[in-house]
């Protein structure tokens, strides 16, 4: 049976890959109040074109 290899991008010094974080990412919840605030900002104020083009 072929085992699918996970491609890991080269990380800089002081940073290591932790497969546990891949699992954690799928279950962790981000503060909904904070996300609501970010969504509110983005709905009210789209990022100006001049910033997008920087």
């Amino acid at each position: 049976m072929k085992v699918k290899k996970t491609k890991i991008k080269k990380l800089p010094k002081g940073v290591t890959y932790d497969p546990e974080l891949d699992k954690l990412k799928s279950i962790i919840k981000v503060n909904s109040k904070e996300l609501a605030r970010v969504n509110e900002i983005l709905e009210k104020t789209p990022i100006p074109k001049w910033i997008l083009e920087l």
Binding site: L11, T16, N31, I51
Partner: protein, 152 residues
């Protein structure tokens, strides 16, 4: 300040990072998580990891006496993230007024260093404006500066 930071662990996509803050309150696991809110626009979430509920608390004030080192570590994650996603815009708001103020102080104190590599904006009165020291902002937006080949 930038060189004194904790070791970071990253997920496969370089969107989630974990590190351990060490201080008088003990070893505390911290999470930095970049989540996409719009195409190429990411929210930066930051808080203490709670192993019991597999969640993180972004309101807690740890007071572990290492805020500069923690800030430098979060900044490092921003470099790793934007190395991978150079066109990403990163937006951050504190989960509380006090935390937003803390972010502003952190940016202000390191603006000279941050601006070498990032465009920095503040959000106030329904507008994104160029970040100025001590401006009263509700949120922050950063974008990695593009490397000009003539600068190398």
């Amino acid at each position: 300040m930038i060189d004194d930071r904790y070791l970071l662990r990253a997920d496969i996509d370089s969107k989630m990072f974990k590190f351990i803050s060490e201080g008088p309150k003990g070893n505390i696991e911290k999470i930095v998580y970049y989540t996409e809110r719009r195409a190429n626009i990411y929210n930066l979430s930051f808080g203490d990891y709670n192993e019991l509920i597999n969640d993180f608390d972004d309101k807690v004030v740890t007071n572990n006496g290492d805020s500069l080192k923690v800030l430098a570590t979060v900044a490092k994650s921003l470099y790793v993230f934007t190395d991978r996603y150079p066109d990403a815009l990163i937006i951050a708001t504190g989960s509380t007024f006090a935390r937003t103020r803390l972010y502003r102080i952190g940016i202000t104190n390191n603006l000279f260093l941050i601006e070498k590599d990032f465009h920095v904006f503040g959000y106030r009165d329904n507008e994104f404006v160029k970040f100025e020291r001590n401006g009263p902002y509700e949120g922050f937006l950063v974008k990695r500066k593009k490397i000009n080949k003539f600068d190398i």
